[in-house]
Amino acid sequence: MASPANRMPRGLRIASTLFIVTWLIMAAFPFFWTLWGSFKVEIDFFSIADWTTALTGDKTKETYGSPITGAGYYGAWVQEEFGRAVINTFIVCFFVVCTSLTIGTLGGYALSRSGFRYTFWLLMIALIFRAVPPITLVSGYLLPFFEWNVWGILPTTIIVLVAINQPFTLWMLHSFFQSIPKELDESAKVDGCTQFQAFRRVIIPVMWPGVVTTGLFSFLLAYNDFAVTALLLSKENQTMVPKIASFLGTTQTEGNVMFAVAAVVSATVPLFILVMFFQRQIVGGLTAGAVKG
């Protein structure tokens, strides 16, 4: 892009920069606005009269003596026990990521190393399963889960999320394992290893970059899910997202909206940190599937 022949004319450069700046504002501003607003009272953040009160916090000052208040956070975390939902979310995410990576690596590795025809069909079936919206499966779960009395508890949800996750995990790990040369485990097998030993001693040490990327996406799926967790978890075991949705149902009394705003900000923080540390892996994972597929 350094060659002078390729330099943009000034008008185009300005237009392009303007467009990117507009996009940046669209992408980032809502988050900062909500973060700022979460420290205000409801009539400041949702002001009928004058939108600037959301910036200055006039009414917040009248009520609490300072333009910034943690009342929303107090309400969400202490009064409504949002902390329990946070713990539940992290339990669910941890076990979903661990289980789906364990069984996904085995399956993805097998798919990438077997040259038979059925691997193609298995991948196609996985693609079809990936296309089925998870919420359509829920009515199939409810009856057996009620019958065995396992509805509403975390382990059931974890297993369901792992299964829903598998098609995607398989595709991703399959394409990642294909980029690891076959000669590596072939030579281990020549030296007398069984297939599993070759996998354990030769492949496992070099597979971590792909596994970390896939793990990130499994985490996001479990963390972001609403349809399954809302319908399969009882009220006591709710994770963050259905908990936030349940705040909305009870926002008739004034101030409760701010609980939801505070909870939303709290639930966004881990994602923010995730993008900060794993930006390269996320971008790599999104493009890996596309460029190879």
């Binding site: 992408a27 988050f31 919420i135 009515s139 319908l231 705003v261 994602l271 971008v283 999104l286």
Partner: protein
């Protein structure tokens, strides 16, 4: 790899998918043909000094016996598919007979829950998908011409709308678009109409839901296209330039053909994902103006009265919709595969 080894490696993931994806699909298909047993009622005459009254009680024993003998419920055939909540054949036929022009007929269809949801789901899918591809492509071109140190920052903030939980992302936008929120006030000021409110207008709600859809998914298209731009063959571009192609012609004849496979990929993924649109409707509290197939299923399943048969039927219809959307891609992949072997 031998068949046997393959089998053992693949067994855990296959079991998970069979039990929790394949079996539920079969289960919802069966459930969509059955309704749960109604309680067996006994009508008995109770007499007291003031006269006789008929009293209805539930015969627990008979009800339980019926449930045990036929656990699947009553077989009703296609009845649930054809009832008012789903394909509504009687109502559609009636509307067709009494129509006064096509517009009137579509209005009548719009009052039936399934067709109402279908209308929004399809509009959303086929408006948002091309829009997000165009927006994502423009961002990718813009970012590609930026200074290297700025790129990382732009990518960081661009990822946020995509990585955010859909329910939370749409809530954040909804609070700003609320008539008391900052964007809602800005809209009122621009339209010079202080009573303008998203909650009251169907058109505005649809537009805002689609704006959310593009906001949420454009970063995905952007990242994929941006990666594609890095592998752009520089000599083809240079050759085009020497032949006197202007900037627009370079984009049209070199860059877009190079990215075409990625466009297909993004379109495929996004068609699947947009067809299941659900969370923004919950967040925007928009069910009065817009419903989707997923929302109907959720609405049937939540609360105390879980209408499993109705939800199963909508689920089956949704899966058929996904299959129709996906069929061109599947057919093409199959042809490629057959051509290869």
């Amino acid at each position: 790899m031998k068949h046997r080894t393959f089998f053992w490696f693949f067994l855990p993931t296959a079991t998970a998918m069979l039990l929790f994806i394949a079996y539920p699909i079969i289960s919802i298909i069966t459930q969509s043909f059955y309704t749960p047993h109604e309680a067996v009622l006994i009508v008995s005459e109770v007499c007291d000094p003031f006269g006789c009254k008929e009293e209805t009680t539930v015969d627990q024993e008979a009800t339980n016996a019926l449930r045990v003998s036929k656990p699947a419920g009553n077989f009703v055939g296609w009845n649930i598919y054809l009832d008012r909540g789903h394909l509504a054949t009687t109502e559609v036929a009636e509307a067709w007979r009494s129509r006064e022009g096509l517009g009137d007929f579509f209005n009548a269809l719009g009052n039936l829950p399934f067709y109402r949801a279908m209308a929004f789901t399809l509009t959303y899918t086929f408006v948002v998908t091309p829009m997000l591809i165009i927006v994502g492509f423009m961002i990718a071109l813009g970012v590609n011409s930026l200074h290297r140190q700025l790129k990382g920052l732009v990518i960081f903030f661009s990822l946020l709308p995509m990585i955010i939980t859909p329910l939370i992302g749409s809530l954040i936008l909804f609070w700003m678009l609320d008539s008391r929120g900052i964007l809602g006030s800005a809209l009122q000021w621009m339209a010079n109409d202080p009573s303008l409110s998203m909650k009251a207008s169907t058109g505005l709600t649809w537009v805002m839901l689609m704006v959310y859809g593009v906001w949420h998914a454009a970063p995905f298209a952007f990242v994929v296209f941006y990666a594609g731009l890095q592998t752009l063959p520089q000599d083809t571009l240079e050759a085009a330039r020497i032949d006197g192609a202007n900037r627009w012609q370079q984009v049209k004849h070199v860059i877009i053909p190079h990215l075409m496979p990625l466009v297909t990929f993004v379109a495929l993924i996004q068609l699947m994902d947009n067809f299941r649109v659900f969370e923004p409707i919950v967040s925007f509290n928009a069910e009065a103006h817009a419903t989707s197939l997923s929302w109907i299923i959720y609405n049937d399943l939540q609360g105390e009265t879980r209408q499993l048969s109705a939800a199963s039927t909508t689920s089956v219809l949704t899966i058929i919709g996904v299959a129709i959307l996906l069929s061109p891609v599947l057919v093409r992949t199959w042809r490629d595969f057959k051509g290869k072997t």
